[in-house]
């Protein structure tokens, strides 16, 4: 899969008309310069040779030189920007999954109460309303109406508050919705009734019999959200002026920065792969019926 993604990304980037040194509205490069530039970046060689060379280097974490900033390396740029994105991503994940599962849990326990309806409504809102809209609303409320927070920037602890809030709302809503429905489903199942019938303490039933089984759909559906969060949101980073990975998606796609685009695509593909492996392993821990590599009795 990783191979397919890389080949296709590679071919796609080269198949489209235009290129970093093609003549455009800024004028055209002199022919000699153009040829020299193409040779310098290895763009004059046949595609399959370019590809093999690229992948060999990529395995050693050398993704080449980004066209948009030729004095640095792609690895260097990503190494500088990604930690910023991760610093937003990790608190986002903690807040979203922590708060989301607590809200979903409460909503399930108090099914059909006003708390349940409020949580359901809020989670629909959270899933549906785009995060840059939420970001603008937070800006309007906290930094303009109340005047408490800086409208953007990076470096101080207070700069985390709004991006993390805006970014975590959608995954939080998703987590709350799935936690609620999976807990409700497990609570109606036979083994929980048995546990109650044999006189187990309610708290023990909830922790041992309900929560553990409710974690399975949680892992299936929600773990794959994590790579998305860790690669950042262009919208959040643009709104709050955070120097993270997000803006490279825009600048590199606009500038036909092949090395950068490929590196980003591969980064995401690797993250996805790792998440899927972790998901599979977690299944076997949570549900002893599932066995990797063999027949599944499910």
């Amino acid at each position: 899969m990783l191979f397919a993604v890389s080949v296709i990304a590679f071919l796609l980037m080269h198949a489209v008309p235009g290129g970093p040194f093609a003549p455009d509205e800024r004028g055209r490069l002199p022919e000699a310069t153009r040829v020299a530039q193409l040779a310098k970046y290895g763009l004059d060689q046949p595609l399959h040779i370019q590809y093999v060379k690229y992948m060999w280097n990529a395995l050693q974490l050398d993704f080449g030189v980004p066209f948009q900033s030729p004095t640095e390396t792609v690895t260097g740029l990503i190494a500088r920007a990604w930690p910023v994105t991760i610093k937003i991503g990790v608190p986002t994940i903690i807040l979203a999954y922590g708060m989301g599962s607590i809200l979903g849990y409460i909503a399930a326990l108090k099914q059909n109460s006003w708390i349940d309806y409020t949580v359901s409504f809020m989670s629909t809102m959270g899933i549906v309303v785009p995060n840059f809209v939420v970001a603008i609303w937070l800006l309007l409320f906290f930094s303009i109406y109340l005047g408490w927070l800086d409208p953007g920037g990076w470096g101080k602890p207070q700069h985390y508050i709004m991006p993390v809030l805006a970014y975590s709302l959608a995954p939080m809503a998703l987590v709350a919705r799935y936690t609620r429905s999976s807990i409700l489903e497990v609570m109606r199942s036979d083994h929980v009734r048995t546990a109650r019938a044999k006189g187990l303490h309610e708290r023990k039933v909830m922790t041992w019999h309900v929560s553990r089984n409710a974690l399975i759909p949680f892992v299936t559906i929600l773990l794959p959200e994590i790579p998305n969060i860790l690669t950042g949101s262009i919208f959040i980073e643009a709104t709050f002026r955070i120097p993270g990975l997000g803006r490279f998606f825009v600048t590199s796609a606009q500038g036909r920065d092949y090395p950068m685009i490929l590196a980003l695509v591969l980064l995401i593909a690797v993250l996805w792969g790792v998440t899927y492996i972790i998901t599979d392993v977690l299944y076997t821990v949570l549900d002893p019926r599932i066995r990797l590599g063999g027949r599944t009795s499910h």
């Binding site: 309303v129 785009p130 603008i136 429905s181 998606f249 825009v250 695509v265």
Partner: protein, 304 residues
């Protein structure tokens, strides 16, 4: 879905018309689906919201105070007043008119992009589901690879290659969002084509095309409708998002996402420039999502 009937005989024995049982009412599954839908308050609210937004957006040429490109520099940066209910922006457009036309753009892009997605996804799903074999294999590999590819990056890349315009953004969003519809169509057909009535039709000499059109499509339609309804807000979000980043729709065509991005530097002074377009986006998204969720609940009561 089976026809649901009730009759006047005692429910002990099965319906027997020769014994004088009368069918009191026999209604189609779609009748019950519609009734379930109408009972769902959130879905009704969604329908009303969508209808109101359609009037607001598509009625813009008649209802809007000014044209979207009319600007009066002398009255720029006015706060909301009776004359300009949403104020005026930094170059003196009446902001209400801008938001109305922006809503229209969003709706057009939403509907058209989903139409493109259907035009690609439904036939491909049909081929994959009916033909099977190498066609199925090829189509499903394309779907898988496109799913693994980061969609936003792909969309941004295509937009920069094609240049920003309304028709291009419709095309780009359509071409990146047909996967769900295709996959769903195929999955539906795989279960349906094993049903007895399809075998019966085939043995009666129906051609593949006849079977697809008369037997499979009508039965596969319910989940597809739900997927289409829920694809509309996703497409609208994509347009707003791309325009927000400055690579979607450009001036003079008004786009809500672009308006949010343009007003962002000024919202410290002019809060209304940030509030109204974001509110419009949120309402559009909410309306379509409520309708989609309502349809899903109505058409498939088994799903939670």
């Amino acid at each position: 879905m089976a026809l649901q009937v009730s009759w006047n005989a005692s429910d002990e024995r099965p319906l027997d018309l020769t014994r004088g049982d009368k069918i009191v009412h026999a209604r189609s599954a779609s009748y019950y689906a519609l009734r379930r839908f109408m009972r769902n308050k959130l879905a009704l609210f969604g329908i009303i919201l969508v209808a109101a937004l359609c009037i607001f957006g598509f009625g813009a040429p008649i209802l809007a105070p000014t044209s979207y490109s009319f600007a009066d520099l002398m009255s720029a940066n006015q706060f909301p007043s009776r004359e300009h209910p949403m104020g005026t922006d930094t170059i003196g457009h009446d902001f209400l008119s801008r938001v109305m036309y922006g809503t229209r753009t969003s709706l057009i892009v939403g509907f058209a992009a989903v139409a493109v997605a259907c035009a690609i996804g439904i036939p491909l799903g049909l081929i994959a589901g009916l033909r099977g074999g190498w066609a199925d294999f090829a189509i499903m590999r394309v779907v898988e690879i496109m799913t693994a590819f980061p969609g936003l990056l792909f969309a941004i890349f295509l937009m920069t290659v094609l240049g920003s315009s309304v028709s291009n953004i419709i095309f780009v969003i359509g071409i990146t969002s047909w996967l769900t519809i295709c996959r769903l169509m195929r999955a539906q057909l795989l279960t349906l084509r094993e049903q007895e009535y399809v075998t019966a039709a085939r043995s009666a000499g129906a051609t593949d095309v006849q079977i697809a059109l008369h037997h499979l499509l009508p039965n596969a339609v319910a989940p597809i409708i739900v997927a289409i309804t829920l694809a509309i807000p996703t497409a609208i979000f994509a347009e707003a998002g791309l325009s927000y980043l400055g690579i979607g729709i450009n001036e003079p065509t008004p786009s809500l996402g672009k308006m949010v991005a343009d007003s962002a530097p000024y919202i410290r002074l002019y809060w209304y420039l940030g509030l109204f377009p974001t509110l419009a986006i949120a309402l559009i998204m909410l309306g379509f999502s409520f309708v989609g969720d309502g349809l899903r609940d109505a058409l498939d009561p088994r799903q939670v």
